[in-house]
C-alpha cells in the first residue's frame, strides 16, 4: 500500500468518523434535553439507596478493612467502573447492529450503511467507533454523577495512587473491550443479531454477582471465587480500589496487574481477530442466512 492510499484511508476515516460522531451527537441533543434530567435523578436516587443501605452496616464486616473500612468509597468506585465496563461489553455489538441496519442518504434516496461504507472505501471502523465514542459520553456523565453523589456522602480518594488506579482501569478496559468485540463478532458468526447474545449475557450476569461491584468478592464461597478470578473486571475493580483507597503501588499490586495484563493480551487481539473475521463473513453469509 503506497503513501497516497494510506493518506486517502486516513482522510476517509477522519472525515467519516467525525461526520458520524457529529450526527450521533446531534441526535443526542434530544437525549440531553429530554432525558438527561431524569437520567441524572434516577442515578442519584439509585446511588443514594445503595449508599444508605451501605451506611446501615458500614464497617461491621472485617473484610472491608483491606479497602480502608470505607464502604461508601468502595461502593461508589464499584458503581462508576461498572458503568464503564457494562457499556464496554455492549458498545461494539450495538454499534455493529446499528451500522448494519442503518441507512445513508438524502431526499428519500438511500443505501444501506454497509453498502455505503464499502462502496465509498470508508473504513468500517469509522461509523463503529463514532457510535462507540458517542455512547461513552453517556457513561462518563453517569460516572460523573456517581462521583458527585459519592462526594456528597463523603467519598475519600485524596490519598490514592491515581496513576496505578488509572493503569489498572485502562488494562481492564482493554480486556473488556476484547470481550465486547468477541460478543459483537457473534452477530455474524452464530447469527446473534436476534435475541440475547450469549457471551455478553453470561459475562454480564456473572459480573454483577461475582466481580465485586457491590461487595468484595472475597466474601463469596471459594468455589464461586474461581469464577470471579476469570473475569477481568474483578482485577480492575480490585486494583482501582486498593490503589485509590489504600494508596497501594505497582509493587503491591503486581500480581493483580500481571493477571489483568495477561487477560488483556489474550482477549483484545482475540476480539479484534474475531471481529475482523465476522465483518468479512458479512460478504459471505449476508443477513439472508
Amino acid at each position: 500500500m503506497n503513501i497516497d492510499r494510506i493518506r486517502t484511508k486516513i482522510s476517509l476515516f477522519t472525515a467519516n468518523f467525525f461526520k458520524f460522531l457529529l450526527f450521533n451527537l446531534f441526535m443526542r441533543y434530544y437525549w440531553i434535553e429530554w432525558m438527561l434530567p431524569f437520567h441524572v435523578t434516577n442515578l442519584m436516587l439509585g446511588a443514594s439507596t445503595w449508599l444508605f443501605f451501605g451506611k446501615s452496616f458500614e464497617g461491621t464486616n472485617p473484610i472491608y478493612q483491606q479497602y480502608g473500612a470505607d464502604f461508601i468509597s468502595f461502593l461508589i468506585l464499584g458503581l462508576m467502573l461498572n458503568s464503564l465496563f457494562s457499556y464496554t461489553l455492549d458498545a461494539f455489538r450495538i454499534a455493529t447492529l446499528f451500522t448494519l441496519r442503518g441507512r445513508v442518504g438524502s431526499m428519500g434516496q438511500h443505501l444501506s450503511m454497509y453498502d455505503y461504507v464499502r462502496l465509498s472505501g470508508v473504513p468500517f471502523s469509522a461509523p463503529i467507533l463514532a457510535f462507540v465514542v458517542d455512547g461513552y459520553i453517556e457513561q462518563f456523565i453517569t460516572m460523573l454523577v456517581y462521583l458527585c453523589v459519592g462526594l456528597l456522602f463523603g467519598l475519600k480518594i485524596s490519598g490514592g495512587n491515581y496513576a496505578v488506579a488509572l493503569l489498572g482501569v485502562c488494562i481492564g478496559w482493554l480486556a473488556v473491550i476484547g470481550i465486547g468485540l468477541i460478543s459483537a463478532s457473534m452477530i455474524m458468526i452464530i447469527g446473534a443479531w436476534k435475541g440475547i447474545e450469549p457471551i455478553r449475557w453470561l459475562v454480564g450476569v456473572l459480573t454483577g454477582l461475582v466481580s465485586g461491584i457491590y461487595f468484595p468478592f472475597e466474601v463469596l464461597p471459594e468455589g464461586i471465587q474461581v469464577v470471579s478470578r476469570i473475569l477481568p473486571q474483578t482485577y480492575a475493580l480490585r486494583v482501582a480500589r486498593l490503589a485509590l483507597l489504600q494508596g497501594l503501588g505497582l509493587s503491591d499490586l503486581e500480581t493483580d496487574l500481571g493477571v489483568l495484563m495477561l487477560m488483556a493480551l489474550i482477549l483484545f487481539p482475540l476480539g479484534v481477530a474475531l471481529y475482523k473475521h465476522s465483518i468479512n463473513l458479512l460478504r459471505v453469509k449476508t443477513f439472508v442466512e
Binding site: 482522510s11 472525515a15 442518504g105 431526499m107 455505503y116 465509498s120 436476534k194 435475541g195 440475547i196 460478504r283
Partner: protein, 354 residues
C-alpha cells in the same frame, strides 16, 4: 485487458425452509430468538437446509468502452452478480477481475475502479440536498484526493454546467441521476455497475439518461457500463452488447442484432393483397428462399392475408412484391416482422433449460 472478466464465478446462499414449524418466536425482538434460530438450524428436523445458486459458473469477458446489458427476469442472478463484482458479496467459487484487479485479492482497488450504483436514484446517498453539485464534487475530490480540476470535466460531461452552483434540492430526477453518474466521472471510474438504473424513472428521462451514458460516459470517457435490467426494450435499444441470464446462468450473449440473427434466423413477411389470383399465391409459395408459407385466408371479400417465413427478407421481399404486382394483385399492406429480444429470450430459455 478486459474491463470485466469473470472466471467460473459462482455465488450460493443457504436457505432454511421451515416446513410446518411455528416460527413466530424466531424474531429479532424475542430474547430467545437466537436459541430458537440455532435449534431450528441444527436440530429441528422440520427445517430443511437448501443451497440456492444465485450465480452459476459465469464466465464473461467484457471489453472496455461498451454499454453492456445484463438482461434477465427477476431472480436470474443479475443483482448478485453485480454485487459480487462490486465486492459487496464474496463469490462462493471462482473469481473476477475489474480492469485486471482480482476482486478477491485486490479489494481496495475495486472501489477505485468500479462505481456501483443500485438505481440511479440511490446516488442520493452521496449527496446533500443543501449543497450544489460543485460543492458535492469538491467534497468528494478532497475526501478521495482527486484533482479538483476534474470537477469541471465531470460537470461538463454530465451536462450540469449550467446548474453547477444551484442547490441539489431543486433538481429534477434526471438531473439527480446525472449527478450520481458525475460522482463516478469525478472518480474517473473505468467501470460502472448499475443495478436497474432506470427504476422509478420516466420513459423520457430514461431515454435522455441512456443517451447521455452512451455518448458521454462510454464514448467520450471510454468507460464501460454494465447495467442490469429486466426491460427488454431498454436492452435492445441502448446496449452495445446483451448478456442473457436465467437461473444464475449466462444463457446467451452478444450484440443485440447478432444475437437475434444467430438464434432466431427466420423472419416473417406479412402481406394483405387485394384481388390476388390463385396462381399468384402458388407462385409466391414456390419462391426460392422461403422456409414456410402460410395462407391465412380472406380478410374481407376481396383481400387475402399471406405470411412467408424466410432467413433473408431482403432478397425475398422484392421478388414477392414483383410476383404479386405482375400477377395483377394489389398490395394493401406489407410488414416484415423482426424477432425481438423477447422472442430470443423465450426461445433460449426453452431450448437450454426446458
Amino acid at each position: 485487458m478486459y474491463a470485466i472478466e469473470t472466471i467460473g464465478l459462482t455465488r450460493t446462499y443457504l436457505r432454511y425452509n421451515y416446513k410446518g414449524t411455528h416460527v413466530s418466536m424466531d424474531r429479532d425482538d424475542n430474547p430467545g430468538g437466537l436459541l430458537l434460530s440455532l435449534y431450528n438450524r441444527y436440530f429441528n428436523r422440520n427445517v430443511e437446509k437448501e443451497e440456492i445458486v444465485a450465480v452459476d459458473d459465469v464466465n464473461l469477458k467484457i471489453p472496455q468502452g461498451e454499454l453492456v446489458c445484463l438482461l434477465g427476469p427477476n431472480g436470474s442472478g443479475k443483482t448478485t452478480l453485480l454485487r459480487v463484482l462490486a465486492t459487496l458479496l464474496k463469490p462462493t467459487r471462482g473469481t473476477a477481475y475489474i480492469m485486471g484487479h482480482d476482486i478477491l485479492k485486490e479489494e481496495d482497488d475495486i472501489w477505485r475502479h468500479a462505481t456501483y450504483i443500485a438505481g440511479l436514484l440511490t446516488g442520493g446517498a452521496w449527496m446533500d440536498a443543501r449543497l450544489t453539485p460543485r460543492q458535492i464534487l469538491l467534497i468528494q475530490a478532497k475526501l478521495y484526493g482527486f484533482p479538483p480540476e476534474r470537477i469541471d470535466d465531470a460537470l461538463k460531461l454530465s451536462e450540469l454546467e449550467d446548474v453547477a452552483d444551484t442547490r441539489v434540492a431543486t433538481f429534477s430526477t434526471g438531473m439527480l441521476a446525472r449527478l450520481s453518474a458525475a460522482i463516478g466521472l469525478l472518480r474517473d471510474s473505468p467501470v460502472y455497475l448499475l443495478d436497474e438504473p432506470m427504476s422509478g424513472i420516466s420513459k423520457e428521462v430514461t431515454q435522455e439518461l441512456y443517451t447521455h451514458m452512451k455518448e458521454n460516459i462510454v464514448r467520450k470517457a471510454k468507460a464501460t457500463i454494465l447495467f442490469a435490467t429486466h426491460n427488454l426494450i431498454e436492452a435492445e435499444r441502448y446496449a452495445d452488447r446483451v448478456i442473457l441470464m436465467h437461473r444464475g446462468k449466462v444463457i446467451a450473449q452478444g450484440k443485440p442484432e447478432e444475437l437475434i440473427m444467430s438464434i432466431y434466423k427466420e423472419q416473417s413477411i406479412e402481406f394483405e393483397v387485394l384481388n390476388c389470383p390463385p396462381d399468384v399465391v402458388k407462385s409466391l409459395e414456390g419462391l426460392s428462399g422461403i422456409l414456410k408459407f402460410v395462407d391465412l385466408g380472406k380478410v374481407d371479400e376481396e383481400t387475402i392475408r399471406l405470411v412467408m417465413y424466410t432467413e433473408d427478407p431482403r432478397k425475398v421481399l422484392p421478388k414477392a412484391i414483383s410476383t404479386i404486382v405482375e400477377g395483377s394483385g394489389e398490395i394493401k399492406h406489407v410488414k416484415v416482422n423482426k424477432p425481438t429480444l423477447e422472442d430470443i429470450f423465450i426461445r433460449v430459455v426453452r431450448e437450454k433449460l426446458g
